[in-house]
């Protein structure tokens, strides 16, 4: 770096909302994460791409505090939180995730009680956060379902009776019910047909624009990442091989693996 470049401070002085440093995780002989660091600024969408087994879902589970690493730290720039969220106990983690972190899984069975009503699924998140008044639960659930562009005349239907796209909207409503600081999306459109996929992506994009919601999106679908992400992180065998602005990573990939990945897209 030149002397002149050193003298130039960063223009954006805001702190990243989320930062993880040097995360490592092994499952026996398998290295799932190897010294992974990243950050996400408020209002930004970080896309994580990579082949199966690259470590992207492990990383997302850690962001949702469902797993702990062998080494490394994870911080959210929110009041009253420790510098490393892995220091929280199980109850504190559950409360933090219920109140400040939303997640949408690829498989709705993972995120929803399939035989409870859709509005009940959303209200469950509010109950965990301490809300007990029925009319408030009902109204907030309705508001979250509406924001997720779920047809309100079906709000009392259980997810088991809904299409895949509708089930994803219920998951999304549940995830955003408490206006989380961070929304995690784990392959949210995989398995949906193309037209439903486009509708779900539109809803996500609208939420992101209207609420400046910070998102981390994991997908192996480069089209989905390209549509949604501001920045992209490319993972392979537990390591970050490339990271950059989405258009730069797609138009001028530097790493041999990223070039292979981008050029393999139909």
């Amino acid at each position: 770096m030149t002397a002149l470049a050193k003298a130039m401070p960063q223009l954006v002085t805001a702190e990243p909302l989320m930062r993880f440093d040097s995360l490592s995780k092994r499952y026996g002989p398998v290295v799932a994460l190897d010294d992974v660091s990243a950050h996400v600024y408020p209002g930004e969408v970080l896309g994580i791409v990579g082949e199966s087994g690259s470590g992207k879902s492990t990383l997302l589970r850690m962001m949702n505090l469902q797993e702990s690493p062998d080494a490394g730290t994870y911080a959210l720039d929110l009041p009253d939180l420790p510098p490393n969220l892995f220091d929280l106990d199980r109850f504190e983690r559950r409360m933090l995730c219920a109140r400040r972190i939303g997640i949408v899984y690829q498989n709705p069975h993972q995120g929803l009680l399939m035989k409870n009503s859709s509005s009940g699924n959303v209200a469950e998140r509010l109950l965990i956060a301490g809300e007990r008044r029925f009319h408030v639960l009902r109204e907030k659930a309705r508001g979250a379902l509406d924001a997720s562009e779920f047809p309100l005349d079906r709000m009392d239907a259980p997810p088991v009776e809904l299409s895949g796209g509708m089930q994803q909207r219920v998951q999304l409503a549940k995830a955003i019910a408490l206006e989380p600081a961070l929304l995690l999306l784990d392959e949210p459109t995989t398995g949906l047909d193309v037209s439903v996929q486009a509708l779900v992506l539109d809803t996500l994009k609208r939420l992101q624009q209207d609420r400046r919601m910070t998102m981390v999106l994991v997908s192996h679908d480069l089209g989905v990442i390209r549509t949604m992400a501001d920045r992209v992180m490319v993972m392979r065998q537990g390591k970050v091989v490339e990271e950059g602005l989405a258009d730069q990573v797609f138009q001028d990939p530097q790493h041999a693996y990223t070039q292979q990945l981008v050029h393999a897209k139909l």
């Binding site: 470049a5 130039m8 960063q10 954006v12 930004e44 486009a198 001028d252 041999a256 070039q259 292979q260």
Partner: protein
């Protein structure tokens, strides 16, 4: 007066790992650009004109040199700036006008055009009003404003693209064949708008298939030449 942009010894080489080869696009390029200046990039196909524009926008990473840009908050080297700063400058100060529209499916033309204003915090209805104004300026018929541009002709998409690119005031505009596939009316509207922006002090660097369209605006020209591909060790 300090130039708005100082390009100093800038180089860009594409490394194609699967071929084991490197393709230099341009080497050790230096020039400056001041507020209100209009610079034309010229040269044959493959000379690196669009590559230079994309490198200035940081869609391509430079392989050498510096790009000192005088932002409203102070100087910054676009070649090495953090992604978050580049994203900020793209939202606030530096615009890129291409001939290709990257439209999300099922998003109406007026919403696509309004997006840069909405991202800057403008209320939805105000942003949509401005979007409709610019769509009308570039000759997009009102019955298409609520339609999806993915179904439009190339020329209509280009008009949507121009409206989106010019809806927010910028300090530096990068123009990559913005008049390609436009009809005469839209081309004239664009040239009028570029002239207004130049008068307002917006600096512009552009590639034009027919430079005659903007002949009256051009202050300087940078000719670029085609380079040869070279083998590299992996």
């Amino acid at each position: 007066m300090t130039p708005l942009l100082t390009v100093d010894d800038l180089s860009k080489t594409f490394r194609m790992h699967h071929l084991g080869q490197a393709l230099p696009a341009f080497e050790r390029l230096s020039f400056t650009l001041s507020a209100g200046e209009f610079l034309l990039l010229s040269g044959p196909n493959g000379a690196g004109k669009s590559t230079l524009l994309r490198t200035l926008y940081r869609s391509y990473l430079p392989t050498g040199g510096r790009l000192i840009y005088q932002s409203e908050q102070g100087p910054i080297d676009l070649a090495t700036a953090a992604d978050v700063d580049i994203a900020h400058l793209r939202r606030a100060e530096i615009g890129f006008v291409t001939q290709f529209l990257t439209a999300r499916p099922r998003v109406a033309a007026e919403e696509i055009v309004a997006e840069p204003l909405r991202l800057a915090g403008t209320p939805r209805e105000t942003a949509l009003d401005a979007a409709r104004h610019w769509l009308a300026t570039f000759g997009v018929k009102p019955d298409l404003w609520r339609a999806y541009p993915t179904t439009f002709s190339g020329g209509e998409q280009q008009k949507v693209n121009l409206a989106r690119a010019l809806i927010r005031p910028r300090r530096l505009l990068l123009l990559d064949e913005p008049t390609a596939s436009l009809d005469a009316g839209a081309r004239a509207a664009l040239v009028r708008r570029l002239a207004e922006l130049k008068d307002e002090g917006v600096a512009m660097i552009g590639v034009f298939h027919h430079p005659g369209d903007v002949a009256a605006l051009i202050d300087r020209e940078i000719p670029l030449k085609t380079k040869e591909m070279a083998d590299v060790a992996e």
